[in-house]
């Protein structure tokens, strides 16, 4: 049955005009089209148009086996590739009640935290670039290369590694993994002070981000904004604390919360999270136990019939996998609850009555990754 759906034409008052930002635009990181209604320089309304990178992942998952789904989830939020894979592995392992070896848990936690640091490094690089400090881009990416080198050594790929499998890891880590990770931590602890001098301490940057894009805690909860964007408004939503997985109940780390809810708060949450991630890795890197890199799994993985929900904390927020299985080797339905999807929905609300330059700053502080929205 063919339905004709008329897109409502936004009403145009005197002196209002529309501007199209995207889908190709230097400051929307990915293919997102924003139709912004402006009155002079003030943003009156914002309509995001998604779907430019919709690949039909949920439909594909209905025909893919669980190990194959790992490769799909990599490409969903490509900056938290390891964490997305971790979600699928945990889903299968908890459903089948398999206990993975300690070594696997250590390595997975360390890799996840490295993933979080590298995602925040890229975020910082592009946030600085959007605001006009082009040098930040080069500094952020230069330091991120060190993490990518560590990954290339152990997993074989710099990006989109698909390293975890249900039951454990694809293969064991490189013998130099611990040494290189410790070198990286020592190096980055010095460099992050530079980041603070260039942006955090700069008066121009503070004026551009203080009191911009205010989001109260109730709004964050209602819109479902999680991750560093939600924690900048005081919404305590860290899945690692509330529903711990891997080794997060055994390491000591703080959940970073700021109460102001503006762009500067969201920025500071991410900067502090980089310190916390380094602290977590410090606690684990010297104690990786010996053992297998994978538990024994059957060749064909079939989840018993039922519904399963698995949550992990990706670099952007609360990633949820909702799986309905009917006992076959492919899920009947797999729904990805992605953090950027909910984070995008609040963009219209918090950028009312601000200027275009502020819109760019807010979009950068929410840290949207568009394939995460569109799947």
């Amino acid at each position: 049955m063919k339905e004709v759906i008329h897109t409502p034409v936004p009403s145009v008052e005197e002196e209002e005009y529309h501007i199209n930002m995207g889908p190709q635009h230097p400051s929307t990181h990915g293919v997102l089209r924003l139709v912004v209604t402006l009155q002079g320089e003030i943003v009156k309304k914002l309509k995001p148009h998604c779907g430019y990178i919709h690949r039909g992942m949920e439909k594909m998952c209905e025909k893919d086996t669980y190990p194959q789904i790992i490769h799909l989830t990599d490409r969903m939020d490509y900056l938290s590739a390891h964490i997305n894979n971790h979600a699928v592995c945990l889903l299968v392992e908890n459903a089948l009640q398999i206990e993975v070896p300690e070594r696997v848990k250590y390595i997975r936690t360390i890799m996840d935290e490295l993933c979080r640091i590298q995602s925040h490094q890229l975020w910082w690089a592009s946030f600085g670039m959007d605001l006009g400090g082009l040098t930040c881009f080069f500094y952020g990416l230069r330091d991120r290369e060190k993490i990518l080198d560590i990954w290339e050594e152990s997993t074989g790929a710099r990006f989109l590694q698909s390293y975890y499998t249900p039951g454990g890891l694809m293969w064991d880590i490189h013998p130099d993994f611990q040494k290189h990770t410790k070198e990286f931590l020592k190096y980055f602890r010095k460099k992050i002070k530079d980041y603070e001098k260039i942006l955090s301490g700069n008066v121009i940057f503070r004026e551009r981000s203080r009191n911009i894009g205010l989001m109260t805690k109730e709004e964050a909860i209602s819109y479902g904004v999680t991750g560093p964007s939600g924690r900048g408004s005081g919404f305590s939503c860290d899945v690692r604390k509330h529903h711990p997985y891997a080794l997060y109940d055994k390491v000591e780390f703080k959940e970073i919360l700021y109460q102001e809810g503006d762009t500067l708060a969201r920025y500071m949450v991410r900067m502090d999270e980089m310190y916390e991630s380094m602290h977590i890795i410090d606690q684990l890197i010297d104690n990786i136990p010996e053992g297998d890199f994978s538990a024994k799994m059957k060749a064909v993985i079939k989840l018993p019939a039922g519904e399963y929900y698995q949550r992990v904390e990706s670099a952007r927020g609360d990633l949820g996998l909702y799986c309905i299985s009917d006992g076959n080797k492919t899920p009947y339905r797999l729904k990805f609850r992605t953090p950027s999807f909910s984070n995008l929905s609040v963009l219209d609300h918090i950028s009312r009555d601000l200027k275009i330059a502020d819109l760019v700053a807010i979009g950068g502080s929410l840290d949207l990754v568009i394939p995460d929205i569109d799947r």
Binding site: P26, G132, G133, L134, T135, I204, E207, R208, A357, V360
Partner: protein, 364 residues
Amino acid sequence: MASNIYDTFVASITQWIHSGLYNLLPPTWALIVELTIIGLVFLLFYALVGLFLVYAERKVCAFMQNRVGPNRVGLYGIFQTIADFIKLLMKELVVIKNSDKLLFTLAPFIVIIASFMAIAAIPFAKGLHAIDFDIGILYVIAVSSLGVIGVLLAGWSSNNKYSLIGAMRSGAQIISYELSVGMSLLTIIILAGTMQFSELVQGQEYGWFIFKGHIHAIIAFLVYLVASTAETNRGPFDLAEAESELTAGFHTEYSGIKFAFFFLAEYMNMFIVASIGATVFLGGWMPFHVWGWSGFNQVMDYIPPSIWYIGKTGFIIFLMMWFKWTFPRLRIDQLLTLEWKYLLPINLFNILLMAFIVLMGWHF
């Protein structure tokens, strides 16, 4: 006395050309030929300096960003800009359907002419300048203000929302900051007592104005640095061409040689404001002299005045490039707030104080 050896060198060449022409041709023709030669020399100078500045910016920015910059075309990439300009010359001149064609073509020329006229008054060495008005500084400020007309015309005639927004922002910015530039220069004019460029430089014989005028000259210099960066649309004040926000601002619709004109004019404007700053605050072509140390002064005189001039201008240009690649951008309202609520009152106060100090004789 300042550099005798080099003065005679420059004076003798100009004298030789002058007398040669007047001997060969009737007076009117000689005048015309002389003026044409000067014009051509300036055009060449303009083009060469522009070329060099573009290359310098790319190299300076590359080193700050931990990379190398152009290094393929020629030794250390020195011919990179020439390659860029050849490319720009060969690009298609896209004609916009509903634009005002006359204004569209005219806009880049106005910007170039404004900056060209300003270069004419600046002294590069003793006696080496095209014109020496006795209202030198006033002339330069007035003429560089003409550039804003070109910017506004470019934005308007492009028939494009983005260009219009960019041009309006740019126009507001330039007009606001001209006030600050003018007033900080006024502070030094009060100290020096003259607006003529050659007198200004001569007056700095026993110490540059930035040292003579101590605190107030330093304040004026800092205000001048900030205001001139803003006036040339550079550095943290480059909203008009903010690439990450609204494409390329007022010159979005320009391509090929016309875009090259805007690009060149931006670098030449930077050169002009740096030259004026160097001449007024840092002594122009006058070497670094200290009152009473005549031996030291003699040694300083051995370095040619043009080298001094280029060194000082280069230093200010380096500062401006440093600003651009370090700081994030200001928003339009923050920019205008900075001017009207902070720089302007500081300037007014500074002028009053400087006048008081000159009256009381409390300067060096």
